[in-house]
Amino acid sequence: MLNIKPSRILLYGLLIIFVIASLLPLWTCIVTALKSSQEVILTTPITPPIDPTMEKIIESINLLKKPLMNSLILVFSGVMVSAFFGSFIGYIFSKHRFPGSIYMFILIVLCLYIPPQVQLIPMVRTMSNLGLFGNLGALVLLYMLFGIPMCAFIFKTFYDDEIPDSYINAAKVDGAGIWTTYRRVVLPLSILPFVVAALLQVVVIWNDFIWGLVLTSGKANLPITVAMANLKGSFVAEWNLQMAGALWVSMPTLIIFIFLGKYIIRGYSGL
């Protein structure tokens, strides 16, 4: 006879309910994507497909090819640039403090808390003044800049905790300037925060919708999230096509969370 406490049973019961509730959308997404248009109308969203077909999945990737490329460009450029600047800024604020530097750093971190909604109009005007409005270039620039505060925060926390000041002082006494110390000593020791910052930024940029919607126009410039939203037909809702698109969009982040999720958690919990 197994001796299990009733509280345990209750706990597991609740956990199972939460798991089902969390996985239900994904399940619906997968089963719907595999259904033919006729079957979508005839069955409920959660019943498995009777006659699974890859048709819509292939159709959606053909439609999303260009936006997928766009999003990849955004992710790579954004991650590279903001991680690099974030690292250097984090290094300066952690190891080369100057009077008032802590307030400057707080200001940088505060940028994380400005909701995008209030920035929409100013940003559209700025981008039009720069002649970038409607282009993919607007998004490239935006993600590069918007990623810096988060990256700076991640890198500063890492440098504060993991790189002793004596490394910097030793390099100083040995004749190395700020940049040489960064390149020769700090940068090679920063692999972990680069992984963490890059993953966080990949997820943020990949999943972003509002900036792509507002700042780009024309089919050629859309990021994948916006293009996916456009998959819904004008007159008939093609659920299976939309769900197939959603599968493609969520795939990369899902894979990242499953295999590299621990690094993302470290990013949010201060490494």
Binding site: P164, S166, Y167, N169, A170, A171, K172, V173, D174, G175, A176, G177, T180, R184, V185, P188, L189
Partner: protein
């Protein structure tokens, strides 16, 4: 190679004064130990010499060269001072091999690659770490890391070595060995060295001279034995020596013609010469200091003795630390043998006459 002069150094952190009006002269090729309890400002002095912190007042000279003088708006950055520093945690870069660690300061200074190789190998041989050059420091022991840090300092041919407790992270046995080696190395290289430590044994054994600091001030500077034998004040007497000096509070009293010190449990008469020097000063409360090796336990009662209880007998190997107590006041005697006594015994005690220190209780300064 250079001498070092510090004049009137003052460093404040916000409102806290870390070091105040600190003066120091270190001769060329000298090994000077800067010692003191934690928070006394010794590391601040060292970092000021290196240029790692900005001082508020004072001047720092390397030989004839002024490197730091805030009043004259002069500050030479650490990169340009030509000092080499060894840190307590060694500050060895974990991603570089031992060779790269030692070559780093030379590479930064753009020394020719062949010369770098030559100098690194020479330094590694000198330190006996030439077989480790291709290893990463992660797997190395504390003693080896400490040598790498030393090696990185040596390859530079610096004017001055600064060492911030470089032996503190070694285990006790290794530390004794490293002490000897480091001292020998310094003599061979003849580089002026400032060595910071909180360990008075390290200070005593390594320093040509010791500068003892407390609360941001220099208490006394001199050769080790001078500090031990002629402490200027209570703090110095207490800090130097292990086990530390025994101290008894007492009052100066006149008895018959001579002056003596009333220690409550014992009346200690002063010699005429001593009493003369004391009567000139208006002091009544004093502290008597006596080193443990000068507290003698005697078999039989004689004049000028007092009785104490043995609390504990600690064998330390070649000698015994005997913990005693008189009227609730504990003190220690060092004896070469403890065969005649047992814990709890009541014994007769005397102080070796010429080795007693008398301090003014108020100022802490020595009277005799």
């Amino acid at each position: 190679m250079a001498s070092l002069t510090i004049k009137g150094l003052t460093k404040k952190y916000d409102e806290t004064i870390a070091v105040e009006n600190f003066n120091l002269e270190v001769k060329d090729k000298e090994f000077l130990v800067l010692v003191g309890p934690s928070g006394c400002g010794k590391t601040t002095v060292l970092n000021s010499i290196a240029g790692l912190i900005n001082i508020n007042e004072g001047e720092i000279w390397f030989g004839e060269e002024l490197v730091d003088a805030p009043q004259k708006k002069l500050f030479k950055i650490p990169q340009k001072r030509g000092v080499a520093m060894v840190f307590q945690d060694y500050a060895i870069y974990p991603h570089m091999t031992v060779y790269s660690n030692m070559a780093f300061p030379l590479e930064v200074r753009k020394v020719a690659p062949e010369e770098i190789k030559e100098r690194v190998i020479k330094a590694a041989r000198l330190l006996g770490i030439d077989h480790l050059l291709q290893r990463k420091p992660k797997a190395l022991s504390g003693g080896q890391k400490q040598r790498i840090a030393l090696g990185r300092a040596i390859v530079r041919n610096p004017k001055i070595f600064l060492m911030d407790e470089p032996l503190a992270n070694l285990d006790a046995k290794l530390r004794v060995q490293a002490r000897v080696e480091l001292k020998k190395l310094q003599e061979e290289l003849g580089v002026t060295t400032i060595f910071v430590t909180h360990d008075q044994i390290e200070a005593m054994t390594m320093g040509d001279r010791i500068a003892l600091m407390n609360n941001g001030h220099l208490e006394q500077i001199g050769p080790p034995l001078e500090l031990y034998q002629k402490p200027k004040n209570l703090f110095v007497a207490d800090f130097i020596g292990s086990p530390s000096i025994n101290m008894f509070q007492g009052n100066l009293v006149k008895k018959d013609k001579s002056i003596g010190i009333d220690l409550k449990f014992f009346f200690y008469p002063l010699t005429t010469k001593l009493s003369k020097s004391i009567t000139d000063k208006e002091i009544s409360k004093v502290v008597v200091g006596i080193r443990p090796e000068n507290v003698l336990i005697v078999q039989n009662k004689k004049d000028g003795l007092f009785q104490a209880n043995i609390l504990r007998i600690e064998p330390v190997g070649k000698e015994y630390n005997i913990h005693l107590e008189v009227e609730g006041k504990p003190f220690i005697s060092i004896e070469s043998s403890a065969d005649n006594w047992r814990q709890g015994d009541r014994v007769w005690i005397t102080f070796a006459k010429d080795y007693i220190y008398i301090f003014d209780q108020e100022s802490g300064d020595i009277i005799s």
